[in-house]
Amino acid sequence: MADLDRVIHEPARLLVVALLRNIESADFVFLLKETGLTKGNLSSHLSKLEEAGYVAIDKTYRGKIPLTLIGLTLAGQEAFDSYKRQIGGLLARAGGPATDNPGSRKQKRSAASASGPDQVAPLT
């Protein structure tokens, strides 16, 4: 438990990192919508992830509209994968429901369909 990465272990940051894991980048609006956090709260979590070197934030423009793109760095990907392995192992040892790695395909599919794009997964 002591080895768990505290930067990622925080629920809101874990959600952000998980959302960014399989894509190149996403903008601030996407993360705002998917996480349900306030702008200030999301900014604060992104700053912490950036300080840890887990995300790269690129401020650019789409036409005349400012666009903030956030992408997971290689270190962020490795940290997230390592966290998943650790937490999966911990839960398996505790006899509780594992997060996803040790789960069956059917389990994964039902969980995936349970959380639609508009829902924020329970992380409490």
Partner: protein, 205 residues
């Protein structure tokens, strides 16, 4: 701590790509255009217009293919990005993508040759394309919510089979395939877009 599925969360951005229905809508309009352009020569008797028509049509078909991503992007900028945000997917590795396309084409051709060995390749082309489109559409839409990932591929296969069963010929079979699939996708995508705009407020990021 409740049970969470991190993989499911990681898959969520992939499902938002067509949440607005815009790619589906644009593809529908494009497919319908192809159907109409290929269908006109099948319905109208040949005349002086035939030669210049077929000199122009290939360029229009190609231009529509090139314009589709641009139109999709413009529509997403207008309706989608301020509501659901922007997601940039990882680019598939070129070699892998071509290997998949090649494999699908070869499999379709070989399977067709075994099943319909009495037909010529030209007659079989529409059903081969319909099969390829069915596989492609299922692959593209499989992460989406709704029945599109199953209904459109099924429609492709049915329309391809109709052309073959009724011996319509290559041109008419393609016209039936495209003119049948196009409106279905246009309506499906359009309805999804209307629902999306109504249920998602613009966010000032």
């Amino acid at each position: 701590m409740q049970s969470i599925n991190l993989n499911a969360i990681s898959q969520r951005p992939l499902r938002t790509i067509n949440a607005d229905g815009i790619p589906e809508f644009v593809m529908g309009v494009q497919t319908l255009l192809w159907g109409v352009l290929i269908g006109i020569p099948e319905l109208v008797p040949r005349g002086e217009w035939w030669r210049p028509y077929w000199m122009i049509v290939p360029f229009v078909l190609a231009a529509s293919g090139l314009a589709a991503p641009w139109v999709t992007n413009r529509l997403k900028e207008r309706f989608s990005y301020r509501r659901a945000g922007y997601v940039e997917l990882r680019k598939p590795k070129g070699g892998y993508a071509w290997a998949v396309i090649g494999f699908l084409l070869c499999t379709s051709l070989v399977a067709s040759a075994f099943v319909f060995h009495s037909k010529t390749w030209l007659e079989l082309l529409p059903v081969v394309v319909a099969t390829g489109m069915a596989v492609g559409l299922h692959f593209l839409l499989r992460k989406q919510t709704g029945m599109g990932a199953y209904l459109y591929p099924l429609l492709c296969l049915v329309l391809g089979a109709i052309g073959l069963a009724l011996n319509l010929g290559t041109g008419a079979s393609f016209a039936v395939l495209y003119a049948g699939l196009g409106p279905a996708m246009t309506i499906g995508g359009g309805l999804r877009l209307i629902r999306f705009v109504r249920s998602n407020e613009e966010i000032d990021g």
